[in-house]
């Protein structure tokens, strides 16, 4: 009871300013002002009823303050204020708007009297007021609070509110709140059965726990009915669980796609395993960090744009580093893929240590812009914005690369070199140039991936290391020289991983995936989308 009331009060206070502007403020103000002359408990009770009758949610602030003992009348004019105690007196706030109204000494203020039976009345009044609020969001929030902490005494108020309600979603929530209240009341069995059915049809987790706790205490046919409603709900929730796993899988898949796609390009075109690929991702993440630091220091207003600024910069930084690595090291090692692997491993160690020396070994704080924080629900599915954006971003990067590969002359050259290097060279394609640009492109894409991953992962010098094995698995699984292979590889590994996790646990799931890939490679040594033709073996 008490918890419910405090929750409602808190909620109402938080939401009241939203709806305050709509109501007839003068009438409410007049009613609240009467607290200033209410000398006895019965006077206060009368005024509470009068204020409740205005139906204006703006009055909730005053009622909440009254229940907390923070509503005072100033002497001698009797003006009513919400107060906050300080050492030598009170700070005064307007009882309706909460605006600061200066301060007053302790002896100038008289507390409006309140007792527990009054508090109960106030709680009901607040509930009714919020249920009657103009703003549907306030009504919905009030109904939700009532649903989650059922109280038999609220049934009448809910009945009245349901009769007046015009918004379908809010009415459904109110009906559910009423049903949950009926279950804890001493109403007839028929009504309770109807309530169980109504709750059972909702099928969300909160209602499930309500019904479960009811089932534990109920007796006879009601218990059976609740039990069957619970099992129905569990079936529905199981499907939502599948959907949730699929979503997590897609989300993981998009991360893998971002991390692996640059690797797939360089490996596909040049046959080069770039062990420093993970460090390109890390460079992208640190570029984001630097951009955000500069924005925080100099242009705080641009913070929401920080990622948009970081993406091209990360591409340039990582791409430039990639170009230097290709021109400085890799081009001397063509035809020796295993040695390339070692040399790029050396590069990755140097880059890691360089970042550690410059930025320190600890995690760096990269913030989420406002449009990437928070979450929303689809049915029983909670989707966070940053995950959704990363999925969309990964697909966008994939589409752009697909376009570059299939619709530009550079892409044509890259594909030609992938399929048959010597023939392409004979046709006048400058293969060293294609190699250099391809490596820069692959590294740049890794940098972009770093921007996205900085939003969901720790930005530390070890960031790249945690993705490198996974990226290899995706590339090896998907097959080289084909972007679609990487896409299918990334998403199937992501989804498979998330579906294994609930049964095997996170670590064992990952081990299973690795074992599956090792076995898969035996069957298809060149991946899911293997290149065909004689040039492959050469």
């Amino acid at each position: 009871m008490f918890l419910l009331r405090s929750a409602l009060l808190l909620l109402a206070v938080l939401l009241a300013p939203i709806s305050a502007v709509h109501a007839d403020e003068a009438a409410t103000r007049a009613a609240v002002a009467k607290f200033g002359r209410a000398m006895s408990f019965s006077d206060v009770e009368k005024v509470v009823k009068e204020v409740a009758a205005t139906g204006d949610p703006a009055a909730v602030r005053a009622l909440a303050a009254l229940a907390d003992g923070n509503l005072y009348a100033r002497q001698p004019d009797g003006a009513v204020f919400v107060v906050k105690e300080k050492s030598d007196g009170f700070d005064l706030f307007d009882p309706l708007t909460g605006k600061a109204e200066g301060s007053a000494g302790k002896d100038a203020m008289v507390k409006v009297k309140v007792k527990n039976s009054l508090r109960r009345l106030i709680g009901d009044a607040v509930g009714n007021l919020t249920l009657a609020a103009r703003d549907p969001a306030v009504r919905l929030a009030a109904a939700t609070t009532m649903l989650n902490s059922p109280d038999a005494s609220t049934i009448e108020a809910l009945d009245a509110a349901i009769a007046k309600e015009t918004d379908a979603a809010v009415r459904r929530r109110m009906e559910a709140a009423r049903a949950s209240a009926v279950l804890v009341s001493d109403r007839s069995e028929a009504e309770k059965e109807a309530a169980i059915d109504l709750l059972g049809a909702r099928g969300d987790r909160d209602t499930l726990s309500l019904l479960l706790s009811y089932e534990a205490t109920a007796k006879g046919p009601l218990k059976d009915r609740a039990a069957s409603a619970v099992s129905d709900m569990r079936d529905v929730l199981a499907w939502w669980g599948v959907a949730q796993n699929a979503w997590y899988g897609i989300s993981l898949g998009s991360v893998l796609l971002l991390a692996a796609i640059g690797l797939a390009i360089t490996f596909g075109v040049m046959g080069v395993i770039n062990m420093a690929h993970g460090e390109m991702v890390m460079l992208g993440a640190y570029t984001t960090f630097v951009v955000q630091e500069i924005i925080r220091a100099s242009f705080p207003g641009l913070f929401d744009w920080s990622l948009a600024i970081a993406v091209p910069l990360a591409f340039l930084v990582a791409g430039a580093v990639g170009l230097v690595i290709e021109r400085g090291i890799i081009r001397f090692l063509y035809g020796r893929p295993l040695e390339t692997l070692l040399a790029t491993w050396g590069v990755s160690l140097i880059l890691q240590q360089a970042v550690r020396t410059i930025f320190g070994p600890n995690n760096r704080d990269v913030g989420n812009p406002s449009w990437m924080s928070g979450e929303f629900d689809i049915g029983q599915l909670a989707i966070t914005w940053n995950r959704l954006w990363i999925v969309l971003f990964a697909l966008a990067v994939f589409t752009v690369l697909l376009y570059v590969f299939n619709r530009t002359s550079w892409g044509l050259h890259m594909r030609a070199v992938t399929q048959n290097r010597r023939m392409a060279s004979s046709m006048g394609i400058r293969t060293p140039w294609v190699d250099a640009l391809t490596f820069a492109l692959g590294s740049g894409i890794a940098g972009i991936a770093g921007v996205a991953l900085s939003q969901i992962d720790n930005v530390s010098p070890n960031l790249g290391q945690s993705y490198i094995v996974d990226s290899f698995m995706v590339v090896v699984f998907g097959g080289v020289g084909n972007l679609w292979g990487t896409l299918v590889g990334a998403f199937s590994l992501g989804i498979l991983n998330k579906f294994l996790e609930p049964y095997a646990g996170a670590v064992l799931g990952k081990i299973l995936i690795l074992v599956l890939i090792i076995l898969f490679i035996q069957k298809r040594p060149r991946g899911l989308f293997a290149q065909k033709g004689r040039a492959v073996e050469a």
Binding site: I329, R336, L342, A343, V347, V476, K510, I521, Q522, P525
Partner: protein, 393 residues
């Protein structure tokens, strides 16, 4: 015939390496135990343990050299075999603690008591006997390598693909051994050892003995590898490395050759791990980290792959450099290691020993052509050259 093969395998470099190792196995313990601590000749115990550790690394590098240098299989997962051998030894050492653990349980190691386990898991049975542990040191890495290689080589997974799946193997094992419910001590691994075959593992005598054992095992490994690569099978291995398809078309089975080399190499790595653990006193899952396995590759590359002595020199030089660097400039060790990877692959693809051998061979060829023309050269010059060359060897 065997004598002949041994003689073929014993170049002067191999002979020198074996002699040095055997001498070290005798001299270092003597200098450590018999020479008083104040003397200039005294070898402190920490140095004995440190170099004993390096010798096990050298054995690991030699094992990798067998598959990479001679058979062309770049394994990025050899640290896994090393660690498995180490865990087998660690399990034996754990059982030797007996009731001297923190919880005083005579059967269960401390971490199992901590996890509230009631009885020993089945795979710990027998590890209280040294001979069981010794067999496991050989069998577990060997079996894993055999099964892994059986699948991989038969389906002709080669080149970087093979390297990547060996890395996946060690990564999967890393994750597995981090799990507490695997029964191998989880994150903390196995440590706090007391005895090995009845001797106190902390005592100077035991440490000196472990050093000698490491040196002698390495010497034995050198002899075996040198003998093996000069044998007919070794030639076949090199043929598979240089032209796998051609070897197959000539009627050999490259997958069997590779499988044998891979399994033998894994067993060697396992032995190295088993010698490593009692000297460092701990084995934990980080030994499975892919980065460790790649570091082994660089030891081999620095020393010179496809040489018998090279990996040993590489492992000693790089690890000694690591100890020195992490003491003197801890910030720069990764720069140095990374630079080493790049410089060695770019400028020293044959490694230290390989480059030196190449230099000598070229010089000998010059000398041969010089002696062929000795009609025109003054006679004494040719003799001088020959003497100098011999002196250099």
């Amino acid at each position: 015939m065997i004598v002949r093969a041994l003689a073929d395998g014993f170049t002067w470099r191999v002979a020198a390496a074996v002699l040095v190792l055997v001498a070290a196995a005798i001299v270092v313990p003597v200098l450590n135990l018999s020479v008083p601590a104040g003397s200039a000749l005294h070898v402190p115990t920490y140095a004995v343990t440190l170099f004993g550790k390096y010798l096990t690394y050298a054995l690991l590098a030699l094992a990798l050299d067998l598959v990479w240098g001679y058979c062309g299989i770049l394994s990025l997962g050899h640290g896994a075999f090393f660690a498995l051998g180490g865990y087998a030894m660690g399990m034996y050492l754990m059982r030797q603690i007996g009731s001297r653990g923190v919880y005083g349980n005579p059967i269960l190691p401390d971490f199992m008591v901590f996890l509230n386990w009631k009885q020993l898991p089945w795979f710990w049975y027998g590890f209280d006997h040294f001979w069981v542990a010794a067999i496991m040191v050989l069998a577990v890495p060997g079996l894993l390598a055999f099964v892994f290689g059986w699948f991989a080589f038969r389906s002709r997974v080669t080149g970087v693909y093979l390297s990547i799946i060996t890395q996946a193997m060690t990564y999967a094992l890393l994750l597995a051994f981090f799990r507490n419910d695997m029964g191998f001590g989880g994150n903390n691994g196995l440590t706090d050892f007391k005895d090995i075959i009845g001797f106190d593992i902390q005592s100077d005598e035991t440490r000196a003995a472990l050093f000698a054992a490491s040196a002698l095992t390495l010497a034995l490994g050198v002899v075996l590898v040198a003998f093996f690569v000069k044998s007919k099978y070794g030639k076949l291995m090199i043929a598979v490395r240089d032209a796998e398809s051609r070897t197959r078309f000539l009627g050999w089975r490259p997958e069997n050759v590779k499988l044998f080399a891979f399994t033998a190499s894994a067993v060697m790595a396992g032995i190295a791990g088993a010698l490593y653990v009692p000297q460092v006193g701990i084995i934990n899952p980080s030994e499975f980290a892919p980065a460790n396995s790649i570091e082994v590759v660089i030891w081999t590359a620095v020393g010179g792959r496809a040489t018998v002595v090279g990996p040993i020199i590489g492992a000693l030089v790089v690890n000694w450099g690591k100890s020195w660097f992490t003491g003197a400039f801890p910030e720069f060790w990764l720069f140095a290691l990374g630079g080493l990877f790049i410089l060695v692959t770019l400028f020293l693809p044959k490694g230290i020993v390989g480059t030196l051998v190449e230099g000598w061979t070229a010089r000998r060829a010059r000398r041969a052509s010089a002696t062929a023309e000795k009609d025109v050269e003054p006679e004494s010059f040719g003799k001088d050259e020959e003497l100098r060359a011999e002196a250099a060897e």
